[in-house]
Symmetry: C2
Subunit: 456 residues, 2 copies
């Protein structure tokens, strides 16, 4: 038995203690689902905000500012008095002693632990670089707010560089953008860069012509949006081409540097492309918390780095430990994997399920296994175009975009943000402008790999 640590002893009540790790879609809904439950909840996250990830790509081109896609966790749970939020980094789990290991805390404290009665881990995912982590320096990923602000500085900085670059060939390299991965995020990002170049920035430069920008969308699969029905992929591809994006289907990135990207075509030939700006949105891999959890349970992760959970989202042999969202592979009662897509609605439904399971156990009720209710799949391609697959109903063009807009506004966590996002979108739609076009404390791009200091 470990003595209570300061973090433990400062809990006020002696009710069952639920620790939720991660304040993304899954964690947020798990905590909210426990608002009337007779438990104490501790939500641990490295960041003091929850990110509305489906809109992060809009930050990367200056259409939205950071505060419009992120809401402070404390603001979300201000009125839910059975929750405390702890800013700290979880580095491991001691499942036998029922403790979460905290690598560091907001006050600089290290090595503290946190006791739980029930643990819910919702660490999410990130993009993987096909075993080449060194590529990240040249192609930041579109998952975190930091990544989005980094990309914003690079994309806008590339146009600035082109404006003062006297050599035509080098100028063309500054105006070449490579987006890796044609899932919804990559498609959205490529469309936004093309719009930025052809529309927002059209009259902003005097020497460089932003309309000469090339946006290459590299995808290993033979079509864009491979998760969608083929007919919608075709429509999305047509919309992308109209915007000026060049999809390179059946292509793979084999190397990325500061000045060029090497791309292998379907014929196996490798072509180097002179490009100074790349964005990564391919190859999802689970949060390292999945491996930490699996390791603590004596289990292994799957190829995507995910930890296996049963039909009730618990770890095998550890009914008090739940995991959910992008970092888990759900298995059915026979032990067969039943993969779910890495989408926000999945994480939200799983978060609500985890809360229900905790409540049911407290009142001695049984809980049916988790079942995902597929609400459909949406992706947007620039201003006023989108594709939607709603349980077999296929929409595209403006109706799909209107649906996309209303769904995203409806889900935005804080009301103030929702109103502001709506207003900024309206303004941006009417003026074709982008209000948050700020480049961080500017440093010369030749010093890549750098992490531009982010300003939003």
């Amino acid at each position: 038995m470990i003595a209570p640590t300061p973090l433990d002893s400062r809990r006020r009540a002696a009710r069952p203690h639920v620790v939720v790790v991660g304040g993304g879609f899954g964690g947020l809904h798990a905590v909210r689902g426990l608002r009337h439950a007779p438990v104490d909840v501790t939500l641990v996250d490295r960041q003091n905000f929850s990110l509305f990830q489906p809109l992060v790509y809009q930050v990367a081109t200056g259409a939205l500012s950071a505060a419009e896609v992120a809401v402070p966790l404390r603001a979300v749970f201000k009125r839910q008095r059975n929750v405390r939020v702890v800013l700290g980094e979880v580095t491991g789990f001691d499942l036998a002693r029922r403790r979460v290991l905290l690598g560091r805390l907001a006050n600089g404290g290290r090595g503290e632990t946190l006791a739980y009665d029930t643990l819910v881990v919702a660490g999410g995912s990130q993009y993987s670089y096909f075993g080449h982590p060194e590529w990240e320096a040249f192609a930041p990923q579109l998952k975190s707010l930091g990544g989005a602000l980094d990309i914003r500085g690079r994309v806008l900085g590339a146009f600035e560089a082109a404006e003062v670059e006297p050599d035509a060939e080098r100028r063309a390299a500054w105006l070449t953008f490579v987006v890796v991965g044609a899932g919804p995020t990559g498609v959205e990002m490529a469309g936004q860069i093309a719009e930025l170049a052809r529309d927002t920035l059209r009259r902003d430069f005097r020497v460089a012509d932003p309309r000469a920008a090339r946006v290459l969308l590299v995808e290993h699969a033979p079509r864009v949006l491979p998760q969608f029905p083929a007919s919608l992929s075709r429509r999305a591809q047509r919309a992308l081409c109209k915007l000026g994006v060049t999809p390179l289907l059946g292509h793979t990135v084999v190397d990325i540097g500061a000045e060029a990207v090497a791309i292998r075509g379907p014929d196996g030939a490798i072509v180097p492309v002179a490009a100074r700006t790349s964005v990564w949105a391919a190859g999802v891999t689970a949060s390292p918390l999945a491996a930490a959890l699996a390791g603590a349970a004596g289990a292994e992760v799957d190829r995507a780095g995910r930890v296996a959970v049963g039909p009730d989202l618990t770890l095998r042999g550890r009914p008090e430990v739940l995991a959910l969202g992008d970092m888990v592979a759900v298995h059915d009662a026979t032990g067969a994997p039943r993969p779910l897509p890495g989408l926000a609605p999945v994480a939200m439904q799983e978060g609500r399920y985890a809360a229900r399971l905790v409540r049911d156990r407290l009142s001695g009720r049984a809980t049916a296994p988790f079942r995902y209710r597929d609400k459909g799949n949406l992706a947007t391609i620039g201003r006023s175009r989108a594709v939607a697959d709603i349980r077999g109903l296929h929409l595209s063009g403006f109706p799909a975009w209107a649906l996309w807009l209303s769904v995203h506004l409806a889900y935005l966590a804080g009301f103030q943000n929702r109103l502001l996002v709506l207003l900024r979108w309206a303004a941006s739609f009417l003026t074709h402008g982008r209000g948050a076009r700020l480049i961080g404390a500017w440093s010369p791009p030749e010093e890549v790999p750098q992490r531009a200091r982010d300003v939003a």
Copy 2:
């Protein structure tokens, strides 16, 4: 004769070339004043945006997000076709050859130069640390956007640290904030931190009590807002005390570290105060461009680092070189210094004057010496309180605050921003919330000195 550099040769017309260095209030108004003049203008800045400095302190507490106080320079001059914007860092001047020396350009180019017929330098100012530049690591200054975002992360991070700090004494140090300098910026900042603690964050924590926060406002002079009439200083002080700020008048900071600030009182005794968060807003000094310009002209700067200019804002013996704003000391025709306050209206009027001088010269007209039209002085103290000195008319309380609000909204550069700021303020006023309460990629405060990666 130096051969034309790429930057020179890419100008399209052969009209007189005006180079404006710095896109703050002064530079912006100089460029705008030349919109109908038969000249080519090049505006050089290190950053791609102009900062609305009077509101930067609101970014530092999360009331506004960065994009709401910064407008992209290219957006401002999109329609002014005789201007090109160059993102680059000016490091010196060759006045004999009429060239600006660029340390680096957006494309990574180094050592380029830019030829001018008329040069306007508007580099602004920053805070000085009384000869202790090493203090900046512990007390960032409230001048730049980067500084404001750094401060925001530290202030919000201090409350987070207090929440997980078990030791009462250390917790008190996390909840102690020192603001150095009780000019308008320091007063505004201290008031905002006090409001953040007592109002916005009041219900956000479960263990730490934000209302226990102490905000010390250290000022060498015997009263706050020493630039204002004594009666307004008294009212401002009363308003500050009501908000929970402790003014330490006649006090001087003699040392700053990661965990404590040493303060000398009026009696000469030095008292160490355990405080983990400090903000610097004292001791204005001119931009290093002032010294570069003075050096190039064989002149010297004054004690505040400012370069001397004549009554028409030109450098002695260099009628084609103008300098303006916080970085200059204006002298009258007899050579006697006629100091002007370091305020945005001074820089704006000087910028407009510089443009008029250029236009007058082109059409052979004489220009009367620059004369500052004093529009008054404003400072705000938290929500709905302010003081105003309008040509001897003294206002305080809500009327002064309403005036402050309308003046600042009227001057905000871009319309979209103005609307959004108004809306966010309205929302924040009604809800007592602060929407942009994001802490950058969070790192443990014990590693100070650090520059928190800024996220907005």
